[in-house]
Symmetry: C2
Subunit: 316 residues, 2 copies
DNA sequence: ACCCCGTCTGCTCATATGAGCAATCTGCCC
DNA sequence: GGGCAGATTGCTCATATGAGCAGACGGGGT
C-alpha cells in the first residue's frame, strides 16, 4: 500500500488544489474518510510534491531570509524571488526595488544616511518614491565618479535619494582613488572634504553596494584603475570592492598601499556601524557577498534568491 | 492605493504560503483586519500571482481534462502534467502509465480489448500491474510487426496485457500492409485471419496509439513503407497513422489504394465504437492528435499537457 | 453643497480544517 | 497461536476560513 498511498495523495492534491474540492468531497470521490484525505494532503506537502510559488517581481523569500539571519547573524535579510527572471538585469532591478522598499519601511528613520555610489545604488534611488521619508540627509561615504563621461551619476544618486526624502545631500568632493599618497592626505585634510568625512563617520545608517573584482568593475569603468591593475588584485585574492576598497574572501584589504590612497570611510567604520545595509545581486557577486557577510561588513543584506542560496550553501 | 493593494497581497501571500501564518496573524503583522487579508489572498490567487504545481510523475491536470472534454465532446480525457520533464521519452512514459492507470480503473471491465501495437502500447503493457483486471481477452486490431528484427514486439504487447489480466491474447497473423491487393484479399478470407478480424470487430473496447507521419514511423521502421513513400503521403496531407492507416488533418484516409492493402479494422469501426481509447504523447504528434480527436476516432484520449493545450489552442 | 451609486469594510454565521487522543490494526517475535 | 510495539484509523473539539450582508465611504453629477 505504500505506493497506493503516494498515488492517492497526488489524486487528492489534484482535486484539492486544481479543482478546489473540499476534503470531504475528495473523501467521497476517492472512498476515503475526510481525515485520511487531510493526512494524505499533509503528506504530499511534506514530501514536496506540492510546490507553491509566488510569481511577482516584488515577491520575497521569507524562509530563505530567516535561514540567512540564523546562519549569519545578520540583523535582517531581504531576499527577492528569482522565479521567472530573464537575466541579471531584471534581478538587479528587483533587488534595488526591494532595497528601496526596505529603506522606506525602516524604523527609526535614520537622520543621516551614508551612501556609496554605483549602478546598484543609482537603481535604488530611482525606485524610491517621492516622499519615501520625512527628511533624511544623505552623505557620500567614498570618493565619487568624476573622471569619466558618466560624471555626475554618483552626485545624482545622492541628490535623488535626499531630494525624495525632503533632505539635503552632501557630496564628497574628491576622487575615489588618488594617484599619490600625499595628494590623498592633502585633500583629506582640506576643510571641505574633512567635514564631509566627519559627517559620513557620524551617519546613523549606511547603504552601499559592492563591485565584483574584474574588468567590469565601476572603478575600472570610471578610470581609477586599469583592467591590468584589477587583474593583479585578483591574483592577490581580491573578490570584489566595497566603497572603493578591494577585499579578499575574508573581508580583509587586499592591497594596503592602494587602500591608503583610497578616500572614504574605513571598512572598520562599517563594521562598527549599527546599521549597514548592503545591496548585492547577480551571480558574479556571490563571492563578494560571502566576504561581506562573513566578515561582518553589513548588518542588513538585500539580495536575490540565488545569491542567498549560494551563501547558505544550498544546492539546486 | 491600487499599487499598495497588490504589494500587500504579495506580502500576505508570502506570510501565508511560505511562513504558514494564519490570516489573523498576518493581519496584525500588516496592520489589516483578517478579512482584508483573506480578500487580498483571494485577489492574489485570482490574479495568478500564486502558482500551485503538483510535482509528481503521476500528476494529472484535471482542469485541462475538463476543458478538453467540454471543448471536444470526448467521453473522457486524461492529461498528465509535464512539469519538470526532461524529454519526450519521459513524457511518453508518464502518458503510458496514465493509460495503464485508466485501463485499470475502467468500469465496466471490458470483456474483449482490441489493441494496436507500437512503442506506446508496449509501454502501456509494461506499466500495467499483474492482475490489473480479473479476466480480459485481448485481440490485435491490425496487422503485426513481423518483417523486421524487432518481430514479436506486437505479439509481446498483446500477450503481456492479456496475461496480466488473466485473459487470452489473440494475435492477428498477418502483415500490416500487403504489397498486392489480391494477397490482402486472400489472407483476409483465410479462416484464421477472418476469425480474428471478427473478434476484433466485436471488441468491447479499443486501445490504440498513433504514429507521426515521418521517417520515424513504426511502419517505416518495420519495413512496410520506405521513407520516400511516407514523404509522398505527407505531400498528400498525411499527419500520421493509426492502426496502420494514414490520415489527413480531417481524419480521412490519405491514400485509398494503400489503405485497401492495409489489413486490420476500419477507421469507421473505431468511430462507431462506444469505447475507443487513444494514447498519444509528444510534440511530434500534436497534428495527429488533432485529427483523431477532431474526427471522432476516439472517445477517450490519454495524453500529455502540451498536446492537450495544443488541442485547446492555448498559448504559452 | 448635496445626493446617489458603486465600492469597500467589518461584521455574523456556517463550514472547512487541523490537533490531539483513544481504539484498532499489523507485523513481528517468541 | 499469543502478545507486544508501533503505526494507522476515526473520532471530538478548537480553530481557521469563506459567504454573504449591512453600513460606511468616496467621487462624480447636478
Amino acid at each position: 500500500m505504500i505506493d497506493t498511498d503516494e498515488l492517492m495523495s497526488i489524486r487528492a492534491a489534484e482535486l484539492y488544489y486544481e479543482e478546489n474540492k473540499t476534503q470531504d468531497e475528495i473523501g467521497s470521490i476517492l472512498r476515503l474518510t475526510r481525515w485520511k484525505v487531510g493526512r494524505l494532503l499533509a503528506q504530499a506537502k511534506a514530501s514536496g510534491f506540492i510546490r507553491i510559488e509566488i510569481v511577482h517581481p516584488r515577491a520575497r523569500r521569507l524562509p530563505v531570509e530567516r535561514r540567512l539571519r540564523e546562519a549569519t547573524g545578520l540583523k535582517d535579510a531581504i531576499v527577492v524571488s528569482s522565479v521567472g527572471v530573464a537575466g541579471d538585469e531584471e534581478l538587479q532591478s528587483r533587488t534595488a526595488q526591494a532595497a528601496a522598499d526596505y529603506l522606506t519601511g525602516l524604523r527609526p528613520i535614520p537622520r543621516t544616511l551614508g551612501i556609496s555610489w554605483g549602478r546598484t545604488l543609482h537603481d535604488v534611488s530611482l525606485h524610491l518614491k517621492h516622499g519615501w521619508a520625512p527628511g533624511v540627509d544623505v552623505v557620500q561615504i567614498n570618493g565619487g565618479v568624476s573622471l569619466n563621461k558618466r560624471a555626475g551619476t554618483a552626485a545624482t544618486t545622492a541628490a535623488t535619494i535626499a531630494h525624495k526624502a525632503f533632505g539635503a545631500a552632501t557630496l564628497l568632493p574628491s576622487p575615489a582613488i588618488l594617484e599619490r599618497l600625499e595628494t590623498k592626505h592633502a585633500i583629506e585634510s582640506d576643510r571641505a572634504v574633512a567635514a564631509v568625512l566627519e559627517q559620513a563617520a557620524g551617519a546613523s545608517a549606511y547603504l552601499y553596494s559592492a563591485g565584483q573584482a574584474d574588468e567590469h568593475s565601476a572603478l575600472v569603468d570610471s578610470g581609477y584603475l586599469s583592467a591590468d591593475e584589477v587583474g593583479e588584485l585578483v591574483r592577490k585574492g581580491a573578490v570584489g570592492d566595497i566603497v572603493g576598497r578591494y577585499i579578499d574572501k575574508n573581508g580583509a584589504i587586499v592591497d594596503p598601499e592602494l587602500d591608503e590612497r583610497t578616500l572614504g570611510i574605513q571598512l572598520e567604520q562599517l563594521r562598527r556601524a549599527s546599521l549597514a545595509i548592503a545591496v548585492i545581486s547577480g551571480s558574479a557577486k556571490h563571492a563578494v557577498a560571502r566576504a561581506i557577510v562573513g566578515s561582518g561588513l553589513c548588518t542588513v543584506l538585500v539580495t536575490d534568491e540565488d545569491t542567498a542560496r549560494a551563501l547558505l550553501g544550498d544546492d539546486v
